[in-house]
């Protein structure tokens, strides 16, 4: 069946998103927030300060940034390459435990210090935070490839299931890892705590140096944005987009499917690892039971709500959801309860709010808050007035393709 004519689209293509404007905006906002918390907030009236502490505590901001880092990685996998990953929490967990192993007194049978600002007398492996970031990223990239290599041949649904299984296995290994043939891998449910603080310019950051951590996390998020944008505009990014649109045509144009998908997986995993390390220093420990399926889903929600494929959209989505989840909802609940003298447990509505948000977005604004222009077209492909599906050739692919 063929297509006869095609009305020439009268609309001029929209001017490409100005990445520069966005970058400058991001940077300025980050600096402004820093100035506000460090220099202005202490001089404001107490009432205002406590309001800020309730609604926008700096620790929540830091945590939100950790989510941003991970969501940006998932965006590469889901948003760029179109591979559904439901087990992203695994990389987060692996990153976290990397920090636990190399930045604490956990392996107290050894005593090895390198670049860390912690006291030399404390046994255990103590490496510099920056080095651990690299190690965590590498380990995650390795696992990304290991899990990806045999499974990326699968069709999208199956891939989702396998990643989901992976996301269940890894945390369980850590939960049960207290005694693997006598070796304590993870300290089980007790977790690893405390984790060394970040050292920077010879200074050890204490648990209350939130503003320094903020800067570090902002820099990491900026790094992920940079990587995303650079890759997106290059050879690999084009191949990812092509695969997302039409895998078969892409392979016919010389794009190696496996290698390209693996690259997406590996880069995504790296960001998961970075987020894991950052999170470990943020909460000052690693606790196996936190790594649940819901983390994978929340990350996916961030990517989807923000606008798959658009780093800025994903960032907005991640900040918003992380904030609602950690402080927005409880603070809002307290406000309501004290105003109306009610006693509603608002955080227990998280499920409802997330569920409703996901469904309503899918029904009414599938492309997300800040969509990539192409995604908007994609998501509404078949709901034009005619509602007729585009016919396609049926090419039966053989099993081993």
């Amino acid at each position: 069946m063929a297509i006869i004519t095609r009305k020439k689209a009268s609309k001029k293509p929209r001017a490409p998103f100005s990445q520069r404007t966005w970058s400058i905006g991001f940077f300025s906002l980050a600096v402004l927030i820093y100035i506000f918390y460090t220099y202005i907030l202490p001089h404001t009236p107490d009432g205002f300060q406590s309001q800020i502490q309730t609604w926008f505590p700096p620790s929540a901001l830091n945590e939100a940034l950790v989510w941003v880092i991970a969501a940006l990685g998932l965006n590469i996998v889901v948003g760029y390459a179109g591979l559904l990953d439901l087990g992203f929490v695994a990389f987060w967990a692996i990153g976290g435990y990397t920090a636990g192993w190399f930045m604490s007194g956990f392996f107290n049978q050894w005593n090895f210090h390198f670049g860390s600002e912690s006291a030399k007398v404390i046994p255990g492996i103590h490496l510099s935070f920056w080095l651990v970031l690299v190690i965590g990223a590498l380990i995650c990239a390795f696992f990304g490839i290991v899990i990806g290599a045999p499974t990326l041949r699968l069709k999208s649904d199956y891939l989702a299931i396998v990643t989901l299984g992976f996301g269940e296995i890894i945390p369980q290994i850590f939960v049960n890892g207290e005694n693997i043939h006598g070796f304590n891998l993870s300290n089980g449910t007790k977790g690893i705590s405390p984790v060394d603080s970040i050292g920077i310019f010879g200074k050890r950051l204490g648990p209350f140096d939130l503003n320094y951590k903020y800067m570090i996390f902002v820099a990491m998020a900026a790094f992920m944005v940079f990587i995303s944008l650079r890759l997106r505009s290059g050879r690999l990014g084009r191949a990812w987009l092509a695969i997302r649109e039409d895998e078969l045509a892409a392979s016919m144009m010389g794009v190696p499917l496996m290698k390209t998908k693996l690259a997406a997986y590996a880069v995504g995993a790296i960001s998961g690892g970075l987020a894991g390390v950052a999170y470990a220093t943020h909460v000052n420990g690693i606790f196996a039971e936190r790594f649940q399926f819901s983390i994978s889903i929340i990350l996916l929600a961030m990517v989807v709500l923000g606008g798959m494929g658009n780093v800025w959209g994903v960032m907005v989505g991640a900040l918003l959801i992380a904030w609602v989840n950690s402080t927005g909802l409880p603070a809002f609940g307290n406000e309501i309860n004290s105003t109306f003298n009610t006693n509603i447990n608002f955080p227990s509505y998280t499920f409802l709010i997330f569920g409703a948000l996901l469904i309503l977005m899918m029904l009414f604004r599938r492309e997300g808050i800040l969509p990539e222009s192409r995604l908007k077209l994609l998501m509404h492909e078949n709901d034009d007035e005619s509602g007729n599906e585009q016919p396609h050739d049926e090419i039966s692919e053989e099993e081993d393709l």
Binding site: T5, L231, E245, A249
Partner: protein
Amino acid sequence: MALDSAPVLEAKNISVEFGGLKAVDDVSFAIPDRSVVSLIGPNGAGKTTFFNVLTGLYKPTSGFVTYDNEDITGLVPHKIAERGVARTFQNIRLFGLMTAEENVMVAMHSHLKAGIIGTIVGTPKQRSEEREARAEAQALLNFVGIGKTAKEFARNLSYGDQRRLEVARALALRPKVLLLDEPTAGMNPQESAVFVDFVYKVRDEKNIAILLIEHDMSVVMKVSERITVLDRGTKIAEGSPAEIKSNPRVIEAYLGKSAEVH
């Protein structure tokens, strides 16, 4: 005419079965270098299946395919593509949400060398490579006559421009063989006539062989140096346009005067 030159792509005794049904049965076929040859046949004759074997989408049940004297049977599609077998699709399969330029650049994937790190850092080498690729893409778009549409999404192009973009994209592989799957489907007679000239232009200026699957007989007869006719998976005739036109088996296959033959 280039029919006497050595074959650049050759298929020998290809059979393809789907669940016991033979879609292609023992078909041999050669594309001489720099020739324009056509594959015709009624719907369901196995043309597209055969095409899919040449490009690696299907693996033949038996037989083999060689390209430049190298066995490429059963290689995955991207390996065949990067060696220099390019194709277009019967129902246009562009990357609709990428610009025309990006579409062409995707097909340059195998020629570009930049790795992940190089891309992130933006090494001078990577930058100049990108620049050159972009220039080459623009040149290809100009070549097929849609140079002005470089920054438009492929899906917003007119139908004829989409067909041209598909050719530009295929040419970006720097192929020695270009396989065109019903390129004039949905074109009116004037557009088809323009297309005939375009095929020659591609062949002559890019120095490549062209294999055409086509329904429009006027196009096939005008453009082909040799025609192969498939019917129900087997080759029933092969020869020059004049020979094919007067071949009774071909007339039968097309017009269905089957009673006399059987």
